[in-house]
């Protein structure tokens, strides 16, 4: 892994209110994911479950910088955080996870297919590498219609070994399309470590090979992430050309529900490694930075926790009280009118 080349911003770069917002968003995501995990084990949520714990800075550092809904966001099946960051309410997300009619996809999508086009969120995608070909078209359309908007496309390190990703990056480089690629490089493609899935882990080299500039970013620090995202977005809006951020990050929990227990993860990574990365927890870092600047008190920390607990509990009550989709909606939405 190359050294991080983006320096953390100085105090003048970000206001207290903005820093508190970043903290609040990351904590909302963390607490939401924890409650989702609980509800999954209560059998209130079905299917697969992929949590974002540890990677919160990748959405908090980027999505609030966008001009939603005019900018567009695409991501993978690990998508709860992206929906929340785009402004989809906890209620709408939780209801979708519980398969309710009040969910953001009316109960038709579930965990891997959260979506909220009214807020610029074009959805999670259940197929590894799946959103990248779609991003070519979204970027093309933003350019075609003469906007200055950007498509932000998230994907994982495992996706870099999918053929369609390279076809697509080549086309984006060729056509010079306004797409910001965010490689959520959490070092494991499911249970396969980077070194076991590619002979060339320098992903910037691969982006460059397709005519796309990029850099490596520390994704464990939200301020660093935000700084890099802002520069990348400015570059794209100015030049109209794509940019690629290889974001160093780590998921603190398993790939999914299949390896959420520590035993499952021990097949491919050590407790020590997880512990080492947990010391770089983006929430620990933002709290440290807020305190260092005198931006937050213990009382405020408690108040934010309490406020988020209310929001998450409310989403659960709302979702559990919501009706299931009516059976006569089974054949609805196969086609648009």
């Amino acid at each position: 892994m190359a050294d991080t080349i983006v320096k953390p911003p100085t105090e003048e770069d970000i206001s207290r209110a903005e820093m508190l917002d970043l903290y609040r968003l990351m904590l909302r995501i963390r607490r939401f994911e924890e409650s989702v995990y609980r509800k999954f084990h209560e059998a209130k949520i079905g299917g697969y479950l992929h949590r974002y714990d540890g990677q919160e800075a990748l959405v908090a550092g980027i999505i609030p910088q966008l001009q939603l809904p005019h900018d567009k966001v695409l991501c993978t099946y690990r998508d709860h955080a992206h929906a929340i960051a785009c402004g989809t309410t906890a209620r709408e997300v939780m209801a979708e996870l519980m398969g309710r009619a009040t969910g953001c996809a009316l109960g038709k999508g579930g965990s891997m297919h959260l979506i909220d086009p009214d807020r610029g969120f074009l959805g999670g995608d259940g197929i590894v590498g799946g959103p990248i070909p779609v991003s070519v078209g979204v970027g093309f359309a933003l350019k075609y219609t003469g906007t200055n908007n950007v498509c932000v496309c998230y994907f994982g390190d495992g996706a870099m070994n999918q053929g369609g990703v390279h076809e697509s990056l080549n086309m984006v480089g060729l056509f010079k399309l306004p797409v910001l690629y965010i490689l959520e490089n959490n070092r494991y493609a499911m249970g396969t470590a980077l070194g076991r899935s590619t002979g060339q882990p320098d992903f910037i080299l691969k982006a460059n090979a397709h005519g796309i500039a990029g850099e490596v970013v520390d994704g464990m620090n939200v301020l660093t992430m935000r700084e890099a995202a802002n520069r990348a977005l400015a570059h794209i809006r100015e030049t109209g050309e794509a940019y690629f951020l290889d974001v160093e990050c780590y998921r603190f929990v398993g790939h999914g529900i299949g390896d959420d227990n520590v035993g499952g993860q021990k097949l491919y990574r050590t407790d020590e490694e997880v512990e080492e990365w947990r010391r770089r927890d983006p929430l620990i870092q933002i709290i440290r930075d807020l305190k260092e600047r005198g931006y937050i008190s213990e009382e405020q920390i408690e108040a934010i926790e309490a406020e988020i607990k209310v929001e998450v509990e409310d989403s659960i009550v709302f979702a559990e009280a919501s009706p299931e989709p009516p059976l006569d909606s089974l054949y609805e939405h196969v086609f648009s009118e």
């Binding site: 567009k72 969910g103 953001c104 996809a105 009316l106 109960g107 038709k108 999508g109 297919h113 979506i115 909220d116 086009p117 009214d118 074009l122 959805g123 995608d125 259940g126 197929i127 799946g130 990248i132 070909p133 779609v134 991003s135 070519v136 078209g137 979204v138 970027g139 093309f140 359309a141 933003l142 075609y144 219609t145 053929g163 369609g164 076809e167 697509s168 080549n170 086309m171 060729l174 056509f175 609805e332 939405h333 196969v334 086609f335 648009s336 009118e337």
Partner: protein, 325 residues
């Protein structure tokens, strides 16, 4: 009305729709500077410029994804596959993305995209370039599937496809590109989806076909007429939506049917058609439905073997005679 070839009718449909709606654009391999592998898009680059006639690399996954993504945010792409044989590389983007995004989003996203190109067999292109894969797409909820048999339908169905708010699989037949017929020059002329055409009226047996099978069926009907057999020929035009009303009305009249497809026999569209006839009109049938289809083999190269693998009007005549015996 003007007499024109099937491929010119397709071009006219695209030209008119691009003039009507600035969100319509064309993309694919060799569609611009090369003027189209089969010349379907000839002249369009000069007329509309490279913003709206986009030459892509040979990247079918990228093509399918680009068209899908552009449609998801409001454009109306007409993406050409050089042949439908090459679309197999793109199946994940087609099936798992284009066909499903509307349903997965609870109807919140529309995906108005046309995937078009030639299918069909019969010119010694051998195994990897000779296909008719309509059953795969008709099998997948979320696609509409159109297969024009005449120049006029080529124009009218393609215009409907471009105006439709859903992904449309538009399968042309390479063997029909040069066929001629009268075509409306009215820019408001369209052919609706889900309305089959009775191409020839008859009372003894229904020959139900689509794409090139329609011309074969009409030839078969002429041969049968010499024996005093009156065959009705139905052109389905679109497989999804499927106009069973016209099919069943014909069965009520003739009580016998031959279903015709060019694709592989096993698990093909004709099997679906026959089952639906049995489900909806079993009591009307005086004989088992006969099926005419391609041989279940990868297409051989040698001319004699290829000929033996492809259905012809003589197979339709033989099937009709079986049904009437």
């Amino acid at each position: 009305m003007a007499k024109m070839r099937y491929l010119q009718a397709l071009r006219l449909a695209m030209t008119e729709e691009m003039e009507r709606d600035p969100n319509v654009f064309i993309m694919g391999e060799e569609v611009g500077q090369y003027q189209g592998t089969y010349r379907v898009t000839e002249g369009l680059l000069n007329k509309f410029g490279d913003k709206r006639v986009v030459d892509t690399p040979i990247s079918e996954i990228g093509i399918a994804g680009m068209a899908t993504g552009a449609a998801m945010v409001g454009l109306r792409p007409v993406a050409e596959f050089m042949t439908w044989s090459f679309a197999m590389s793109a199946m994940d983007q087609l099936v798992n993305h284009a066909a499903k995004i509307t349903y997965m989003s609870g109807g919140r996203i529309k995906c108005p995209v046309v995937f078009r190109g030639p299918a069909g067999v019969g010119t010694q292109l051998s195994a990897q370039h000779s296909h008719s894969l309509e059953a795969w797409f008709a099998h997948t909820p979320g696609f509409k599937v159109a297969m024009p048999a005449t120049p006029e339908d080529a124009k009218g169905l393609l215009k409907t496809a471009i105006r439709d708010n859903n992904p449309v699989i538009f399968m042309e037949h390479a063997g029909l590109y040069g066929s001629s017929g009268e075509v409306s020059e009215d820019p408001d002329f369209t052919v609706p989806f889900g309305v089959a055409a009775v191409r020839r009226e008859g009372k003894d047996i229904s020959l139900i076909a689509y794409s090139k099978g329609v011309a074969m069926s009409l030839k078969a009907a002429e041969i049968l007429e010499k024996d005093g057999i009156s065959a009705e020929v139905i052109d389905l035009r679109t497989l999804v939506p499927l106009d069973m009303d016209t099919v069943v009305a014909s069965i009520r009249k003739t009580h016998r049917a031959v279903v015709i497809q060019e694709e592989w026999r096993n698990a093909g569209f004709a099997a679906e058609l026959a089952t639906r006839i049995y489900e909806q009109a079993f009591d009307e049938m005086d004989a088992p439905i006969q099926r005419v289809a391609g041989a279940d083999v990868p297409m051989p190269y040698a001319k004699n073997l290829e000929r033996a693998a492809i259905p012809t009007e003589h197979d339709i005549v033989a099937a009709a005679r079986r049904a009437l015996s």
